[in-house]
Amino acid sequence: MRARNWLFELALGARMSVAGGRAGWFRLGLIAVGVGLGVAVLLGAATVPAAMAASNARTDARAIDGYQDLPRADDTMLTSHFTTRFEGWSISGELLQPEGSHPPVPPGVSSIPGPGRMVVSPALARLLDDPANGLLRDRWDAEVAGVIGAEGLSGPAELFFYLGTDTLSTEHDGRIREFGTPGAIVRDPVPMFVLLTLVGMVVLLIPVMVFMAAAVRFGDEARDRRLAAVRLVGADAATTRRIAAGETLAGAVLGLLIGAGLWVGEILLAHRWGTGALSFYLADLRPVPSLVVLIVIAVPVVAVAVTLSAMRRVVVEPLGVTRMSTPVRRRLWWRLLLPTAGVVLLWPLYRGIDEHSAGYEIQVVAGMAALLTGIALLLPWQVEAVVGRLGAGGSPAWQLAVRRLQFDSGTAIRAVSGIAVSVAGVIAMQGIVTGIESLYTRSSASAPVRYGVAVLPGSSLPDRSWTAALDATPGVHDYRPLRIVRLDGATLRIGDCALLSQLAEVGECRDGDVFGLDGAVAGTTYRLGDTSWTSPATTRAVSRAEAEPTSGETLLITPGAMAGVAVQPDDTNFYVALDPGVPHAMEHLRNSVARLDLQAYLYSYGNDTVRAALAGMRDALLAGAIVLLVLIGASMVVNVVEQLRERRRVLAVLVAFGTRRRTLGGSVLYQVAVPVVLGMVLAVAVGSVLAGVLMTAVGAPLTVDWFGIGATSGIAAVVVLGTTAAGLPILWRLTRPGNLRSE
């Protein structure tokens, strides 16, 4: 019986949520969208582990362990990994050379392609079929004999191939007897990108949670007034709480449906647009069932809990709504617990990440989460503390706004905390992304290098072959060989002045000069096979060029300084200057190199791979943050409108005695702007510290992310202005002269 009453009350609440006419539907819609977004993100988060697992399972099945000690047999095969780039795409594959008649066959492939033949992934096939990509077809000079099945690929967008060959040798290349050797499946310590992705998810997830918590309270003042009417006809306080719960529940359930819809959109998008490691088959995109159950149960429960806890401070009486007139002073100490825990968790990272210690990523993510959630807790205290100290001097508009905030800052804070948390997260992310980026783009600061590509041969071909190939490549403007001699504890790099000046800050350089890097000094004698060579007294200590990696004690030697010494270089690299005027010069060079030596490596200065990946990540984050800020802006509009409605009488009176609309508009602006600015200050501070810790953790130089701060501040300013602008028409309508009459 009792249960049926409860159900009736819950249903009554649900009905009442839409009975309020357009305003009621709008409120329900906002709650539903707010909850829906949260649910979509949560479902997305619940899907990623399953999708990654499915994808990993397939790449595990084709893993190659090239370091086994296997005798040649009928069922063995030589393999070599190959990666290349074409335009913006990264392409990888395996070169296969069966040694007998029963070689192992990788998953998704029916038979090993013979020399000069290849099987490719569908995505690569499409790329190859594109008439515009003739240069890519020329790269391998191979005939496409088939397509790799889904079971052999990480995802539908993977660019992957198996190329049959007869050029591999046991000297350089691995021998396998099977694919998916268990020993080959070494789970890498969580790589930086995965860490960044995890952190990025936390950064988006927490503000969504905060937003969800705020969303279920949208328009609750109007609801409380409706509940007062219900009390008048005899409902008791407990009943009104259950009716309120029913209203929230309606929004939360609708939110679950919207969230599910958005999630379907999410996976379709991921399926359609996912690239590289983040491309998945639809079948992979199944959320972990236990997590789904958790979401479906927890979201409505939390929504109702938030509603009920908010109603603790409101007394709904039959004749109206009383808010606790003497609000409890906000205490600081417990609000510091969570941020402190976050700092404690993140602190060890200050000395650098030990990628091999187990669970460090959990520590990072938990620390981030604690710190970001801490912001949402700290903000109310901070706003109260600051606003309480603000003088009400200044213009009347300012006075009205400040006094309003001192009177009741809760509503404003709820909306702003979402902004603060997301901005702090984005700045932290931006900071770390910028930091890593700067690791890869140090050269971008100095003048562009003359020899933009280094060719590192993978097999020992005579120099002649290379020079002939380079000479014949269209778009190769110039190239220089760099001979490298590796000795115990030192490296000799022999090249002419033009090249050396790219590798180090050599200053004046003439043939015959020698330069010391990283501790290499004059008068040191090096044994070179049968002969020896002593660095001359003129050897000058210089510093590395910015873009060059450290390589230990190194001597940079012009050919003239070694004249007459028989040098047998361990490696000869070719530094190539491309003619920027020739289209696809880079692809021509890659083709020439690939045809000569499939295992050669091309190093491109101004590495744009990492940069592009990072930029993509940053764009995604920024886009997420913008969507979030727009939503938060919408919720702030609701708050502002509701508040204006409640005060229509006072507004009309203010207008009656001659208050300029500008003054009223100004007070709305200040009222929105002050909490946002305070939230931004807290967010930028915490975000920057967080970024600093993360940058230290990944060993990136400490930089302040002015772009991120500027962009997010700009968006926040737009949100403030937009919210105010959206509130103004209602303000004008409410202050229309006729409104004094309506009471």
């Binding site: 001097g393 009347p396 309003r404 009176v653 005695f657």
Partner: protein
């Protein structure tokens, strides 16, 4: 104290004012004169259009036709900004309830019109304090409207209407929400202060005892005014 109201030129004149709100016609040819320094009671049954007429006289509403002249200026022809400026400087207002800004203290509420007119905070609050004192609510200066009684709040509102020493004060049922005792007190202090400053008062009321504080009355009925001739 006897008050003689010169007939002279009216301070504020409504001439053949018509105004409709959609289907309903509120004023149909209302004419009225307000002379400097007089207290004029606007009486009439509910819905007769007396509040609407008050709002027209105060430049809050613009008549559909007819003119409202203040001195030699027609309020109907002025821009919204100009009328706002006029209301800030020359007019004061007391309403029935809910007119004080709930977040501001009583002192700040009274100082607000001065601040809106451009006075500095200190100066505005100093003058506001003297007005709170005159209306015998000086001890409420630091309180918020929510913390004071209805009668006290109305006296604060009267102080706010008078603080700019306007030429006309418009009072719309100023005691409507008060009991007799508080109503009498508010009226006594209000009219005494208005007479001291020489402000004219247009008093909308349906209570004869409140109207008895006036010098003469005008009756609004069906959107028209029956105006009593001013005493000679």
């Amino acid at each position: 104290m006897t008050t003689t109201v010169g007939r002279g030129t009216p301070l504020l004149t409504a001439d053949d004012v018509h105004l409709s709100f959609g289907e309903t016609t509120a004023l149909r040819g209302a004419s009225l004169h307000v002379y400097a320094g007089e207290v004029l009671a606007l009486m009439g049954p509910s819905g007769s259009g007396k509040s609407t007429l008050l709002h027209c006289l105060a430049g809050i509403l613009t008549p559909g036709s007819g003119s409202i002249r203040y001195g030699d200026r027609d309020l109907a022809r002025m821009s919204d900004t100009e009328r706002s400026t006029l209301r800030r400087g020359a007019f004061g207002f007391v309403f029935q309830f809910g007119q004080l800004v709930p977040e501001l203290t009583c002192l700040e509420n009274v100082a607000l019109p001065l601040r809106l007119a451009g006075a500095g905070r200190r100066e505005a609050q100093r003058r506001a304090a003297t007005w709170l004192d005159r209306l015998e609510v000086a001890d409420l200066a630091g309180k918020r409207p929510g913390q004071v009684s209805g009668g006290q709040g109305q006296r604060v509102a009267v102080a706010r209407a008078l603080v700019t020493e306007p030429a006309v004060i418009f009072a719309d049922e100023p005691t409507g929400a008060l009991d007799s005792l508080n109503g009498e007190l508010v009226m006594k202090l209000f009219i005494a202060a208005a007479r001291d400053t020489g402000a004219a008062v247009v008093l909308v009321t349906h209570e004869p005892r409140v109207a008895a504080y006036s010098d003469r009355e005008a009756v609004v009925r069906d959107g028209r005014v029956r105006e009593q001739e001013p005493a000679r």
